[in-house]
Structures are given as structure tokens and as C-alpha cells.
């Protein structure tokens, strides 16, 4: 019988409501990042680079762009006859069917998918984190500790600890306590939302959780605490490196800007651990005779005739003559016509900013905390608009 050692389940169904109009038309994992990438590229590239070739992608919120982007997974070398990328939307059975009610419920509804590959381990990952991780090292650690569940963790600043699932561990890194978003954290060891389970343990826990009517069917809130209470062997894996949850506009904007200071950020230029994307052929980008570009990332297919400072331009962006783009992120195929000024903004896909527009945060005095203007995708901002 064919089988796989490890199947990855990638949670990509979240609405990402805190990203506001960035996710009005697309799921959060499909939001562009760092110019040509989309957020889900990082998790899928991690799988590819870790030799995990079977990935179930759980989608339910506005999945079209995400599904068409993932396709058969060839862009991440994940197109396989047995295994590969499988998109798993909620479905109807003979008598019942429902939306995914929580992270654990989403996996529960796809137990048959996992059983088909008969894996030893199931890796639960999320489609909205920016990080590079070799999951093979996590699996090795899990085996070495003879763990039943291993949670990947990193140390976060104490003041932010209450935003995360916080763990306490003993000297062997066995988990003694787990609290989801505690108001008064007892430790700063945070869960990254990356869990490795023995499949037999997870399956049993999912069946139990499903029967528990008081449960929110969430890994962090229900499944992990319940396994801990039962005395299962839960271990913490200590991850070293850059990891960012891009759950809010501010953290999303900040993570993008960190790419411009690549030393303390995700290194997209590293050829040893590449981030793959579903790229299409684009022409080289053209920089005009009067253009000026400083401290920016420019993707293929762009045409820059104006000025671009501290900004990230996705493929196919057009910046017209005498226009200025500062401290901004411009998504795929957006068009900025002549004589416009854009500062601290995120411009959506295929949005058109006509000439003589001014888009910037209202309060100029505090540049650090001033708001970020988000212009939704497929919009047309008429000539002369001031936002």
C-alpha cells in the first residue's frame, strides 16, 4: 500500500478581516507580499524545501484567486501523481455538510483525505505567516523526543506575548502549560501555529473534539489544552529565524518594509532556500529617462517613468511621469498616471490612480504611527482626488 510519512495541512480559509479592504475580494493567503509573492508562497515553499510533497490546502473564504494561483502546485514543484497539492474546500455529504467551523473542524472534515495517504505524522501549518522553516528538522526533533505532539515556538517580546498562544516548558522542553492569548503571560515562548502530530493521536483528538459541544473546534483553544490535560507527550521545538504573523494592516505593512532592509527580515534573495511563486513571463522592467528609484524593490513588467522611494512594486505596475510613490506598496498591474503623489499607501491590484491625485495619511506630524491608506483592488481613483 502506498503511504506518506508526513502530510501537511495548510489552513488557508481565514477571512483575515483585520486586513480590511486587502481581503475584500481575496483570501488572506492570496494577498501579495514583497513585490511578486503572495503570502501563501512562504508556507508552500517551506513544504517544497522540506521535501513534504503532500499538502492539503483548506480554503473556504473567497477562494477563486487562491485556487487559481495554486493550481496543481507545479510552481512549488508540488505536482505529483500520488500526493501533491490538493485544494480542500468544505463539501456536502449524503446527509450533511457544513462550512469549516474552526481550525480543528476543518481538519476533522478532511480525515478521509489524510487517511488516503496513511501518514505517520500530520503537520498543521497556516497560510498567513511569513517565515522560512525546514519542517524536516521539526520532524527529526519530534522523533528524537518521542513526542506525540510538537509545537514550533519562538520567543516574542514580553509586551506582545498576550497576542499569542503562550507555552511553559520543563527543562526537557516538554510542554507543561498552554494558554491561548493570556492577559497575563507567564512566559514569552509563543506558538507559531505550526503543529506536528502523530496521526493516530490527532485523529482520536479530532473525534473527541467534534463531540464536545462546548468546543470552538480550534487547535490553540481546545485541542492542544485537552491533549495536555490528558498527559500526552507535547514538546516545544525552538525555532530560530524570522517569523511574522501578518494579521493586521500595520504588521503587514511593516513586514513588507522589512524586506527592504533585508538583513533583519525574510531573505528572499537566498538561493539556498528559495521562495517560489507562480510566476508568469513578464518582460524586464523599464526605467524611464526622467525616473528616479531609491531603496525599492521593482518587479518584472513594471514601467517607472516617475519617482519611487522606499517602496515595493509588484509585477506590471505603471508609474507615470512626474508621479511620486513613497513608502508604499503597489500591487500587481496597478496604474499610477502622471503627476500623482502617493505616500504610506497600499494600492490594490489593477487599481488605476488617475493624474493629479494625492494619497497620503492625514496627519503628517507623526510619521511613524500615521495611518496607512489602503486603496482597494480594481478601483479607479478619478483625476484630482485627494485622499
Amino acid at each position: 500500500m502506498l503511504k506518506k510519512e508526513c502530510v501537511a495541512m495548510l489552513l488557508a480559509g481565514g477571512q483575515g478581516s483585520r486586513l480590511g479592504s486587502l481581503t475584500r475580494n481575496i483570501a488572506k493567503p492570496a494577498v501579495p507580499f514583497g513585490g511578486k509573492y503572495r503570502i501563501i508562497d512562504f508556507s508552500l515553499s517551506n513544504c517544497s524545501n522540506s521535501n513534504i510533497d503532500t499538502v492539503g490546502v483548506l480554503t473556504q473564504y473567497k477562494p477563486f484567486v487562491l485556487n487559481s494561483y495554486i493550481g496543481a502546485g507545479a510552481a512549488w514543484d508540488l505536482d505529483r501523481a500520488f500526493g501533491g497539492v490538493n485544494i480542500l474546500p468544505p463539501y456536502m455529504g449524503e446527509t450533511e455538510g457544513s462550512w469549516y467551523k474552526g481550525t480543528a473542524n476543518a481538519i476533522y472534515q478532511n480525515i478521509n483525505f489524510i487517511n488516503y495517504y496513511d501518514p505517520d505524522y500530520v503537520l498543521i501549518i497556516s497560510g498567513d505567516h511569513i517565515y522560512k522553516m525546514n519542517y524536516a528538522a521539526l520532524i527529526d526533533y519530534h522523533k528524537e523526543k518521542e513526542a506525540e505532539v510538537t509545537i514550533s515556538t519562538l520567543e516574542v517580546p514580553w509586551k506582545e506575548a498576550s497576542r499569542f498562544g503562550i507555552l511553559s516548558v520543563d527543562e526537557d522542553y516538554r510542554i507543561t502549560e498552554f494558554q491561548e492569548k493570556p492577559p497575563y503571560p507567564v512566559s514569552n515562548l509563543a506558538s507559531m501555529g505550526v503543529y506536528l502530530f502523530n496521526w493516530s493521536i490527532l485523529k482520536e483528538a479530532l473525534f473527541e473534539d467534534e463531540l464536545d459541544e462546548g468546543s470552538e473546534h480550534d487547535f490553540g483553544k481546545n485541542v492542544i489544552p485537552s491533549l495536555l490535560n490528558k498527559g500526552r507527550r507535547l514538546y516545544a521545538y525552538s525555532f530560530q529565524g524570522y517569523w511574522k504573523d501578518v494579521g493586521t494592516i500595520e504588521s503587514y505593512y511593516e513586514a513588507n518594509m522589512e524586506v527592504l532592509r533585508s538583513k533583519d527580515s525574510i531573505d528572499i534573495f537566498d538561493s539556498e532556500f528559495r521562495i517560489f511563486s507562480n510566476d508568469i513571463v513578464q518582460t524586464p522592467h523599464y526605467v524611464g529617462a526622467e525616473a528616479k528609484i531609491e531603496n525599492s524593490l521593482i518587479s518584472n513588467g513594471c514601467v517607472v517613468l516617475g519617482e519611487v522611494y522606499n517602496s515595493i512594486l509588484a509585477p506590471g505596475v505603471y508609474v507615470g511621469e512626474a508621479s511620486q510613490v513613497r513608502d508604499s506598496i503597489v500591487f500587481h498591474h496597478a496604474k499610477i498616471e502622471t503627476d500623482s503623489y502617493i505616500e504610506r499607501a497600499i494600492i490594490g491590484e489593477k487599481t488605476e490612480i488617475q493624474s493629479h491625485c494625492i494619497i497620503r495619511a492625514k496627519e503628517k506630524n507623526s510619521s511613524d504611527s500615521s495611518e496607512i491608506t489602503v486603496v482597494q483592488d480594481h478601483h479607479i481613483i478619478p483625476k484630482g482626488t485627494v485622499l
Partner: protein, 371 residues
């Protein structure tokens, strides 16, 4: 377009390109920052709807196969049809004039025999263009032609040099094929090294001529011009032929002209090439780039003017690059100055060094040089 297949003679000769073709055939010479010359005929076939393409390989075909793979990036990895690699014959010394050697086809006759298509489009591989053959094919069928030769018109000696001049009769029939006379006085129709031929006729010509060594299909055509229905079809598209270093330099620089860039790279007939999936290009605080084309994965901190950079270039602060073409992964040290230079792949120019060619005679620095 199931009734048409394509053949690219990927072994077009290229003796005048100096270092650029020392280690690679002209089909694999990089062009326009991210393409290779082969991409142009191949994409034109694909955009015409041709689903079966035979590629005759040059002798040193590693760079060509490295680029094409199984043809996936041109959607030519098919169950029905797709990309077929046809090993070219070992020719030894032949004159440059010969483009479409019958021996190359005779060696791969099975490719033509097992197919059932009515017509074959044949192109050589030293020109850059973005052409849809649909109009030419419709013309070919309407005229019930045996062969349709594609041509352009020009009076400039540079365009006509080493070209075959067509004598046209009524209704676009071809009366004669001739080499160009010394100084033309008016517009001359010249053959642009692409033609459409009935597959069965092609098979007959191969069988009839294969015993003769080194014979060109065009010679076979010439011999039989009075018994065949040979027509000519005029095209108006940009055809950038690359026979010399200067041609290579100028055809690349043509891409900085908006109208040519639009026709060649931004037309609705998309150009396909091997997808590399590299990160975007980073511009540092001291970058100053004007009127240039850049590909992904570059790191720019110096001055660049009127130049074309392939992926992976590193330009250090103070470096000045003007009228240059940089192939993949070149490194230009601080304060180095480059003007009218073509750098092949992996060239490193150390800090402060100066390299200058002229507009008429650009300097070519060969692969992996350290200067």
C-alpha cells in the same frame, strides 16, 4: 491549427558573433534581458496555435536543451504533439548561406512521416520577431500554394546583405530566387528565412535530394520552381536579424524604443521563455537608473543609462554603466566605468576599472572574465 506543424532550424550559423557564440549556438544567445533568440521563433509558433514543433539542434546543444527542457514554459509538454528534439546532422564546413539543410531533415524523417498535418512552417533561428503565421497560412491555403515564402521589402544594403531576393510575378507568385545585386536602386522584396510548405511535398523533396550532400531546401525549391506553385507573402512586422556583434548590440538597444518594445515584447502574442521565478530587483539609496531595462534579482547602487541588464547583476555604488548589455550575474565593482560594452555571463569588473567600446564597435567581454 491542428493541421500545421513547425520546424525550427536551431542550427543557424553564427560566425560573426565573437565570444557570444564561442560556447553557445546562436539559438541560445540571451536577448533583451531575459529571453534567448530561440524564444522568438518558438513563441511565434505557439501563438499561431502550432502544437507540434520540431527543433533541429545545433552541434553544441546543451544550452538549447537547458533552456527548453520538455517545453513546459511554451505549453509544449503535450500528450498530443509537443516539442520534439531533432538532432541536427554533423556538417563540418559549409557555407554560411546554407540555412535549411535537407540532411538535417532526412535524419529526422520519421518526425515528418508519422505526422498527419497538411502543412509545415519552417523558420531559422537568428532573428527576433513576434509574428503570427495565421495570415500567411490563410494566404497559402487560399492560393492553394505548394510553398509560401515570407518576405519584407527594403532598399537598404544592410537589410539585403546575404539575403535572397525574390522576383515576383502576378498574384504574388515567385518567379526567381537570386542573391542580392551590388547596389539596389529601389525597394527589393527579400526572403526572411521563413516559409510554409506542404508536408508531403517536403517529404518528396527530402527523398529526392537526400543522396546529395549538403543541399539546401531552397536550392531544391529553385530547381523545381517551374513545376511548383511557389507564392510570396509580405509581412510588415519587425524582423531583427542578428548576424554580427553590432547587429546584436543594435537589436537589443532597439528594445529601448517604445514602439519596438511594444511590438516585440508587449503584443497580445505573448513571448514565452523559461521561467526562472527570481526575486524582484533591489534599488539602493545611491541608485540612479535612466532609460534602461532591468530583469529580476539585480542589486543596483550605481548609475545606469540606456542599458539592458539580465538577472542577477550587482552594480556597486559609484559604478557608471552607459549603452551596455549585461548578461546574467555580472558584478560591477565600485566606481567602475563601462560604456558601449557587452558583458557575457558571470563577468566581474573590479572596482575603478574602465571598459569602453564604441557605438560602431562595442566591446565584448567573454563569459566568466575577471577584469
Amino acid at each position: 491549427m491542428r493541421s500545421v506543424i513547425g520546424i525550427i532550424f536551431g542550427n543557424t550559423r553564427s560566425d560573426l558573433l565573437q565570444g557570444l557564440t564561442r560556447e553557445r549556438p546562436i539559438a541560445a544567445v540571451p536577448f533583451g534581458g531575459k529571453f534567448r533568440i530561440l524564444d522568438f521563433p518558438l513563441s511565434s509558433f505557439v501563438n499561431t496555435g502550432i502544437r507540434t514543433v520540431g527543433l533541429i539542434t545545433p552541434q553544441h546543444y546543451r544550452p538549447v536543451l537547458d533552456h527548453t527542457g520538455a517545453g513546459r514554459d511554451w505549453y509544449l509538454d503535450r500528450k498530443a504533439g509537443g516539442l520534439f528534439i531533432l538532432p541536427g546532422a554533423n556538417h563540418g564546413l559549409i557555407n554560411e548561406q546554407s540555412q535549411f539543410n535537407i540532411k538535417d531533415l532526412a535524419l529526422n524523417i520519421e518526425f515528418l512521416e508519422k505526422d498527419v498535418s497538411e502543412n509545415v512552417v519552417i523558420a531559422n533561428c537568428n532573428q527576433v520577431y513576434n509574428l503570427n503565421y495565421r495570415d500567411a497560412l490563410n494566404f497559402h491555403e487560399k492560393k492553394q500554394a505548394d510553398i509560401t515564402m515570407l518576405y519584407k521589402e527594403s532598399e537598404y544594403p544592410g537589410d539585403l546583405e546575404e539575403r535572397i531576393i525574390l522576383s515576383l510575378g502576378d498574384g504574388q507568385t515567385v518567379q526567381a530566387l537570386a542573391h542580392q545585386e551590388e547596389s539596389p536602386l529601389s525597394l527589393r522584396p527579400y526572403f526572411i528565412d521563413m516559409f510554409i510548405i506542404r508536408r508531403k511535398l517536403l517529404l518528396e523533396l527530402i527523398k529526392g535530394y537526400k543522396t546529395i550532400d549538403k543541399v539546401d531546401i531552397l536550392e531544391a525549391m529553385k530547381d523545381n520552381l517551374d513545376v511548383l506553385k511557389v507564392y510570396a507573402f509580405k509581412v510588415d512586422t519587425y524582423i531583427g536579424r542578428i548576424r554580427s556583434v553590432l547587429d546584436y548590440f543594435n537589436r537589443n538597444m532597439d528594445l529601448l524604443k517604445p514602439e519596438i518594445r511594444k511590438e516585440l515584447l508587449l503584443s497580445k502574442n505573448q513571448l514565452f521563455t523559461k521561467i526562472r521565478d527570481k526575486p524582484p530587483t533591489f534599488y539602493g539609496l545611491s541608485a540612479n537608473v535612466r532609460d534602461s531595462l532591468l530583469t529580476g534579482d539585480c542589486s543596483v547602487e550605481g548609475d545606469i543609462e540606456h542599458s539592458i541588464l539580465s538577472r542577477g547583476a550587482v552594480i556597486k555604488p559609484g559604478a557608471k554603466i552607459k549603452n551596455c548589455i549585461l548578461l546574467q550575474k555580472c558584478f560591477i565593482g565600485e566606481n567602475a566605468i563601462l560604456e558601449n560594452v557587452i558583458l557575457d555571463k558571470f563577468v566581474e569588473v573590479k572596482a575603478g576599472n574602465v571598459l569602453k567600446g564604441s557605438m560602431d564597435n562595442p566591446l565584448v567581454i567573454s563569459k566568466r572574465s575577471v577584469i
